[in-house]
């Protein structure tokens, strides 16, 4: 400003010359100031590595070591690996972390292609990634191959740099090995927790001092409360007969290698109830074979035990009932039979001696007495046959020719067959693993039924046999009066009869006996029939013993 004011006043030529020189000097200084400011800015923003300063002894170069050193230390001390690459993937620079990731000294890395450390199948992908990297950052997960073949999972992030007209890419590489390991551990933890939550068995893991480290969900329920980090003995009270199964015993058993295998223990609950469990215990070793603790597995068998005991009681009760039944059968066959026989004998004697000698009413009374005595006697025979069928099984030692048994049965029924005029046909029958008396009773009862419930026409009875997978199906069919389907099951019941005694006599036990017999051989019996269309009684018996 002063200069301008001075310029405005009239001045001498000399002054004018000096003024011009001054102005030129100011312009130069201004230009140098701007340059210095620019340099400072460049230094401050890291654009300058070194300064060339002209001095009286010529130019002097000052490297900005302070700033550069700090960056280098930062880069070298980073946990991440860093490399700078040129366009083709050539490594221009690598830090120590990267060197240790790929297990090579830095000197052997610089100048190699990055491809050297990539699995063959990822090289093209990486080249593409490299080419596409612009100003923005690119991230990718891939696997590095160390020089010794070790595969290192990493994330790599790429940044394009342009320095001095050369295109470079700066890559920061994070080793994921630790992270993957951690993730796997987390997954393992989840897996084992999931196993513990779902296990039906109660599982309790204790440490070497008896403290509970892990429990399965069912063990927690067994304890009835949260038990983590409590002492095993303060939570569970197990007894093996009169010996307590406590943490010291479990740990000592675990240490002995054999552990404990399924011993039956009683758990006393705080509410006074008891559970019965199977207890096993095995060791938990560290990799250096120190006992870390033990794993206790418990299976609740309280219900199973109760069921077993109930079954035992039932079996005992059944045995007692069976014994009662046998005694009853004995009483029936001997004690009851005697007076009935006497009644039968004397009513017949009365009939023989006094028939037509009293009046017709008396004759009727006598006839009823005689008939009742006969029925009573037959009832006893059948009841005895039924109870004897229920007796304990004998093993059948040899198969029986059913044709022979049928022939014998027909022979026994000879008179009744002749009277009925029935025509009997039979298939060729198989050999059967049954007792003769049983097969004979089956044939006899079924054929007798056909004779009893016949229609007016010619009675035809057919005995059939059909082979199944494990069983033979035998049948006795007739063209008799038939049975209404609503009674098809009813007729196999004890004392079940469909007809009054006047027309068709019987004790109502024949089919019940047949059913009992086939059931003894794991077979079954049923009827296919309709009123007026005959009946076909079918039963199955085993092919093998």
């Amino acid at each position: 400003m002063k200069l301008s004011e001075a310029k405005a006043a009239p001045i001498s030529d000399d002054l004018q010359t000096r003024l011009a020189a001054s102005e030129s000097r100011v312009a130069e200084l201004e230009s140098r100031l701007a340059e210095a400011e620019e340099t400072l800015h460049a230094i401050r923003t890291g654009q300058v590595d070194a300064l060339v300063v002209a001095g009286p002894d010529g130019d002097q170069i000052f490297a900005l070591e302070g700033a550069d050193h700090a960056y280098r230390i930062l880069v070298e001390e980073m946990q991440e690996g860093t490399v700078t690459l040129d366009q083709s993937g050539l490594i221009l620079y690598a830090n120590r972390q990267f060197a240790s990731m790929v297990r090579l000294p830095v000197e052997s890395i610089v100048g190699s292609s990055i491809s050297r450390f990539l699995p063959p199948d990822r090289r093209t992908t990486f080249s593409t990634l490299l080419a596409e990297t612009d100003g923005t950052r690119q991230r990718s997960e891939l696997t590095l191959m160390a020089d010794d073949g070790l595969r290192v999972p990493v994330t790599i992030s790429l940044n394009r740099l342009e320095t001095g007209g050369i295109n470079t890419v700066c890559a920061v590489i994070t080793d994921l090995t630790e992270q993957r390991h951690y993730e796997a551990m987390v997954k393992d933890g989840e897996l084992s927790r999931s196993i513990l939550d779902q296990a039906i068995e109660s599982i309790v893991v204790i440490d070497a001092r008896g403290k509970i480290l892990r429990v399965s969900e069912s063990a927690r329920k067994l304890a009835g409360r949260d038990v983590l980090l409590r002492h095993f003995d303060s939570v569970f009270e197990f007894w093996d007969r009169d010996q307590k199964v406590d943490a010291p015993r479990l740990l000592s058993a675990a240490r002995s290698d054999n552990g404990i295998r399924s011993i039956e223990v009683i758990l006393h609950h705080t509410d006074g109830a008891d559970s019965t469990l199977l207890l096993s215990a095995g060791p938990l070793w560290s990799s250096s074979r120190d006992l870390l603790g033990c794993v206790v597995t418990l299976t609740d068998i309280t219900e199973r035990k109760e069921t077993e005991e109930a079954l035992g009681r039932q079996a005992h009760e059944l045995e007692r009932m069976n014994s009662d039944l046998k005694q009853f059968a004995y009483a029936v066959s001997h004690d009851l039979r005697e007076p009935i026989r006497i009644v039968a004998n004397y009513s017949q004697l009365l009939e023989k001696k006094y028939k037509d000698k009293l009046d017709e009413h008396a004759d009727g009374y006598i006839r009823h007495t005689v008939n009742a005595a006969h029925r009573l006697e037959r009832l006893l025979d059948d009841l005895l046959a039924y109870t004897q069928t229920a007796e304990t099984q004998h093993t059948v030692e040899a198969p029986l020719d059913a044709n022979v048994v049928l022939a014998k049965t027909l022979n026994m029924l000879d008179t009744a067959l002749a009277e009925s005029g029935a025509r009997i046909e039979s298939d060729a029958l198989p050999m059967l693993w049954v007792e003769e008396i049983h097969l004979q009773q089956l044939f006899q009862n079924l054929i007798a039924n056909s004779l009893k419930y016949r229609s007016d026409g010619l009675l035809r009875i057919r005995i059939t046999a059909q082979a199944g997978k494990d069983m033979w199906t035998l049948g006795v069919s007739d063209n008799g009066i038939g049975i209404d389907p609503q009674y098809h099951e009813h007729i196999f019941g004890l004392f079940k009869r469909l007809h009054g005694g006047s027309k068709y006599s019987g004790s109502g036990m024949g089919l019940a006996i047949c059913q009992k017999i086939v059931e003894r051989y794991q077979g079954r019996i049923w009827v296919e029939s309709e009123p007026g269309r005959g009946s076909n009684f079918l039963f199955t018996l085993p092919k093998e013993t």
């Binding site: 005697e338 026989r341 039968a344």
Partner: protein
């Protein structure tokens, strides 16, 4: 011809009556001595052996009698000097093969199961006549 002598060991009066009826039906001319337990039967043999009693021609024995059972009676009979050779008909309400075999083993000539049918019961008369005839034939 001497009258046939029969000894019946039977505790049920109803059966004693039926046996009498069967013998009567067959018109057998016989003396029937009846005792109702095994002990009296053995005493009968002892009296015969002592000469105080004529031995019977035939013994009709119910196996199921009080005090001393029919089997023991048969064993004792075999040791009797005067009665050992007489024919024995075991009469029983049991039809079991076991009882039939036991009776045969003890030397019974016949096993008669007491039937509910009167006609079958009356057949006992014919059985006794057959055995008596056989004995007379042997004696003659």
């Amino acid at each position: 011809m001497t009258r046939l002598k029969l000894l019946l060991v039977e505790d049920n009066p109803a059966d004693v009556f039926l046996v009498r009826e069967a013998l009567h039906e067959e018109s057998l001319d016989c003396d029937l001595e009846v005792v109702d337990d095994g002990e009296q039967a053995i005493q009968f043999f002892e009296r015969a052996d002592a000469g105080g009693q004529a031995p019977p021609d035939l013994l009709l024995l119910d196996l199921n009698v009080p005090r001393i059972g029919g089997e023991q009676v048969l064993e004792r009979l075999r040791r009797s000097r005067t009665c050992a050779g007489i024919a024995v008909v075991v009469i029983s309400s049991s039809d079991s093969p076991h009882d039939r075999k036991k009776a045969a083993d003890l030397g019974a000539a016949e096993y008669f199961r007491k039937p509910a049918n009167l006609d079958e019961f009356m057949a006992l008369g014919k059985l006794v006549r057959r055995l008596a005839d056989k004995r007379r034939g042997a004696v003659a």
